[in-house]
Structures are given as C-alpha cells and as structure tokens.
C-alpha cells in the first residue's frame, strides 16, 4: 500500500492536533450553548444533539412501512377474510396457519376459524398483503415492538390480529402493542 507523503505541518503533528481539538471543542461549545438555551426555556432554537430518545420520541415512519399484520374487519366486526388460503400458500416462511369454517351468511363463502401468524418465522415480505383478493390482511399498524420470552408467545391468533387498528398518518401506532397471553414476566 502506498501512502501520500506527509507534509511538514503534518509531521510536526502539534498544529494538526490543535486543529482537531479546535474542531471538537467547537462542537462541544456549540452544542452546550444549544442545550443551555433549551434548558432555559428557549424551545425554538436548534437542538444540541441529533439523538432521538426512542421510547418517548419516535422518528416518523414511512407510510409504506411493513409493520405488524392486522386482519381487516367487516362492519359487523367479523373478519373480512374468506379463508381462501392465498396468503398461506404464497408465504415464503410458512408462518400463516388457517383453518376454514362455514360462514353463517350464505353469500360469503367461508370464514377462518383459526388464523395464526407465527411472527417468529415471518420475514415481513408483505406477499400475504399482495396476494389477498379481499384486502383482508394489511401490515399498516406501525407496531414494530412485539416480543416474547418464548417461541409460542410469538404466535399471534385471529382475535389478536383482529383487534389491531391502522397507524396514525405519521406512523405512530394507534393500538397498544398486544401482549401474548402466555407471555412470561
């Protein structure tokens, strides 16, 4: 590897060190002034840090973000899903499990008795949303923080998926994060 020869100033070292210290010190005092101004109640000025303090603050999500799935409801509250198995078929991770049932309304073909998504397997590709002929499954809840202490806790059932609401326009979730029933403390 060839390196560019150092100039005399660089070899002398002290001047360049002082320049570097000047840069970091300028950052320090500029940010310190901004922090102080905000602490004294001037909210309009620039922020002293680029940090987003995550659980309290969130950076706005894109409207196209693929987040936790939800099942869309009909007006009577039953799932819009007709248990056609398209999503289960297209899913590359095989994480959707559907058991179909007869719908009481003869105009609607079927209804899922069970609709489980194993989020421990899901790869968030969004193929299920694209495959659905009834627009019954969407990934627009804005919820990213789902977790569990067990693999079983990552399986979200039909009732949990039906209870979720779409996110606000800025991407903030509207529904609280659903806690799996078998989640351990």
């Amino acid at each position: 590897m060839t390196r560019a020869p150092m100039s005399l100033r660089q070899r002398f070292y002290v001047l360049d060190v002082l320049a570097g210290l000047g840069l970091t010190a300028a950052h320090f005092f500029r940010n310190m002034g901004r922090h102080t101004a905000r602490a004294l109640g001037r909210r309009t000025g620039a922020r002293g840090a680029v940090t987003i303090q995550y659980p309290e603050e969130r950076r706005p999500y894109s409207p196209r973000l693929r987040s936790l799935h939800r099942l869309v409801r009909r007006e009577d509250g039953s799932p819009r899903c007709v248990a056609c198995m398209m999503c289960e078929t297209v899913c590359p991770a095989h994480c959707i499990y559907i058991v179909a049932d007869e719908h009481p309304n003869p105009e609607i073909e079927k209804v899922p008795r069970r609709f489980d998504i194993d989020l421990g397997k899901c790869v968030f590709c969004g193929y299920c949303v694209e495959a659905c002929p009834e627009d019954a499954i969407r990934m627009d809840t804005g919820i990213l923080e789902f977790s569990s202490y067990s693999r079983g806790g990552m399986i979200y059932t039909k009732e949990m998926l039906l209870s979720l609401e779409p996110a606000h326009a800025d991407g903030r979730p509207r529904s609280p994060i659903p806690l799996p029933p078998n989640r351990k403390p």
Binding site: V17, G20, L23, T24, H27, F28, A49, T51
Partner: protein, 363 residues
C-alpha cells in the same frame, strides 16, 4: 493538641474528598462531555424517584453494579498479588495529590494553616515517586493474572511509564530552575510575580511554554488513557486488567481517573499559577495601574482555593477533550514520541532555560 489534629485531619480530608469525588465525577464528565462533543446526549436514564438530574446518578449506578458483580479470580492467578494489584494502583494515585497546594497559608485564630495535605520541601519528587509507583499495580496485575495478553499489557504499561516519566522529570527541570525550589508551595508563590511592568503574571506557562506542552503530553501518557492507552489496547490485547471483574476492574478505571486529576493538579501548580489569581495579592485586588481594592484575608484565601479548583477542572476538561479527539498511538509510535520527541526536546529546554537564566542574571 486536639485542634492541631483536627486541622491536620481537615487538610487531608479536603484533599482526599476533592480527588475522590472528582475522580468519581469524571466517569460522568467522560460520558457527557464526549456525548456533547459528538452531537449526542449521553447517559441520562438512571433515576432516583424519577429524578434523572442530567445523568448524575450513573456513577452511583455504576458503583452499585460493580460491587454486586461476581468477583472472579482465574485458577492459575497469583493468590496474593492478583487481588492486591488494583489496591496498589488506586492507593498511589490517591496519595500522589497530597503535596499539591490548593491554597496559600490560611491565618485563622492565631494559627498558620498551610493549605496542603502535607508540607514537603521536596514535594515534586514525592508526587513523581507516587506516580511512578502507580505502574507497579499495573505490572502486578499483568503478571499475576496468568494471561499472556495481560502480561503484554503490563509490559507495555511499564515501557510507556518509563518513557513518559523521563520526559516528565526532564520537562519540569526548567520550572525548578526558574523558581529555584522543589517545594510545590514555593513554586506556586514564585508564580505570583509579574513581567512587562506588572502586566503579565509569571506563570509557568509564560516562562516555560515548551515545557508546558512536553509535560502535558508526557503527563497524559502517564495516565495511560487515550491517545496513550497502549497498555489497555482495547481493540487488540484488552490489556493488563483483562482478567479482572467487578469492583477490582472498576478500581483500575478509577486509578486512571485519579491519575488524570493528579496530572491536572500538577499542571495547574507548575504551569498555571496554582491557586494564584492574576492581580489578587494577599491584601486584595491590585491592578497594574495602581487601582486597589482591599479584601479580608478569608475572602482572598477562599477565592484562591476556588481558583485552584476551577483551574484543575479546566485542565481535566482539556485532557478529556484530547482523549475524545485523538486516536490511539501505536506502541512503537508512543515509544518514538517519548524517546525521540519529548525527551530530547525537554533536554533542549533545560539548556535553553539555563542560557536564558545566565543572560538574565548578567543583564
């Protein structure tokens, strides 16, 4: 008798608490200062009853965490030296500050109280002795851990300490020549004179600018912190404390912070006028054109102690700034800087100072 004991205890307690608290606070300063320099916020989550107090509880949380962690000793580590090493490190870093004066003599109720933990007429030698003994703790840690990386770190620490220490010793020789004393208090008093018709305080940084740069560089090397953290070498050998856990590991970190405080105190005393405030004499403020404002003795002494504390804090800020600006020197670069840069330059500084002093006395 009781009063004397109380005064002696008070002097020691002040220095002890000052150094220990500053060392503890420096974990917070390090996090916050680096964060603000890098457009971040820094640790601010530790809270007591919901009060976060800009992260000031984090040192406390760290201490509790380290005290409750497992204290592990490798099976082949030395039984005596391994647990002893962190204590040796911290002890010598703590006692080094003892002969650094934090104020002039305080006259209170007919007594003369020197504001200094111990009044030594060879104070500088004492501080050096303690600083250099500090490396024994590091070497003991490296050797007794029965770990090759730790041994490598200890050996690097010894090599770095020797090259830094020689530069420290020779660079302050100029200061000793100018103020004519090994007593830290006398050196600080000597910096109360003025040049240029009473305008320029004769601080060490004015009379010995080259020595100031050399001393500070070598001093930072003696603290074993970045950019001279080759003994630690976090990304390559982890260093002499690789086998330590819990509070013993914390004590090594603490020793580095305490050494930083000691170096800041020494730089303040030798080069930044110690407790001197420009134009503030024992009787009060006296500006060069003759305007005077007499102040009571106690106020003057308190102002001077305050000035010393402020100067030490500014030096710590500056050393932190260096620590968070420069990358680490490679081992050979650190050695070359110590032996081929700092040492010859400080010898040249001694010669130059001698010539100037001779010329000055034959004016």
């Amino acid at each position: 008798m009781i009063a004397d004991l109380g005064i002696a205890f008070g002097r020691v307690a002040f220095v002890m608490l000052f150094v220990l608290n500053l060392g503890g606070l420096m974990t917070w300063v390090e996090r916050k200062q680096s964060a603000i320099m890098q457009d971040r916020i820094g640790a601010n989550r530790a809270s007591i009853f919901g009060f976060r107090l800009i992260g000031l509880f984090h040192p406390l949380a760290d201490a509790i965490k380290m005290l409750t962690k497992e204290d592990f000793r490798p099976a082949r580590a030395d039984r005596i030296l391994f647990p002893l090493a962190p204590f040796v490190s911290v002890f010598f870093a703590l006692v080094a500050f003892a002969s650094i004066p934090f104020g002039d003599t305080l006259r209170l109720a007919g007594r003369d109280i020197p504001l200094q933990a111990v009044t030594l007429n060879v104070g500088i030698l004492y501080v050096f002795g303690m600083l250099s003994l500090g490396v024994y703790g590091v070497m003991m840690a490296g050797w007794s851990s029965a770990n090759n990386y730790a041994l490598l770190g200890g050996q690097r620490a010894a090599a770095l300490m020797i090259s830094a220490e020689i530069a420290i010793g020779t660079s302050i020789m100029g200061v000793i020549m100018i103020y004519g004393s090994l007593n830290m208090q006398d050196i600080v008093r000597g910096q109360g004179q003025y040049f240029l018709g009473g305008w320029l305080p004769a601080w060490g940084i004015v009379t010995q600018p080259l020595a100031f740069v050399l001393f500070l560089t070598a001093g930072i090397a003696a603290t074993k912190r970045i950019p001279f953290d080759t003994p630690e070498g976090e990304s390559e050998i982890i260093g002499y404390f690789v086998e330590y856990s819990g509070m013993k590991f914390g004590m090594f970190a603490m020793a580095d912070f305490l050494e930083t405080v000691v170096i800041a105190g020494m730089t303040t005393s030798l080069f930044l006028g110690g407790w001197q405030i420009p134009y503030l004499g024992a009787e009060g403020v006296r500006l060069p054109w003759g305007w005077a404002w007499p102040l009571p003795h106690l106020v003057v002494v308190l102002l001077q102690v305050g000035a010393f504390v402020v100067k030490v804090c500014v030096m710590i800020f500056f050393m932190m700034l260096i620590r968070w600006t420069l990358p680490r020197f490679r081992y050979d670069q650190a050695m070359r800087l110590g032996w081929l840069g700092l040492f010859p330059l400080s010898i040249a500084n001694i010669v130059l100072t001698g010539l100037v002093l001779v010329a000055w006395s034959h004016r």
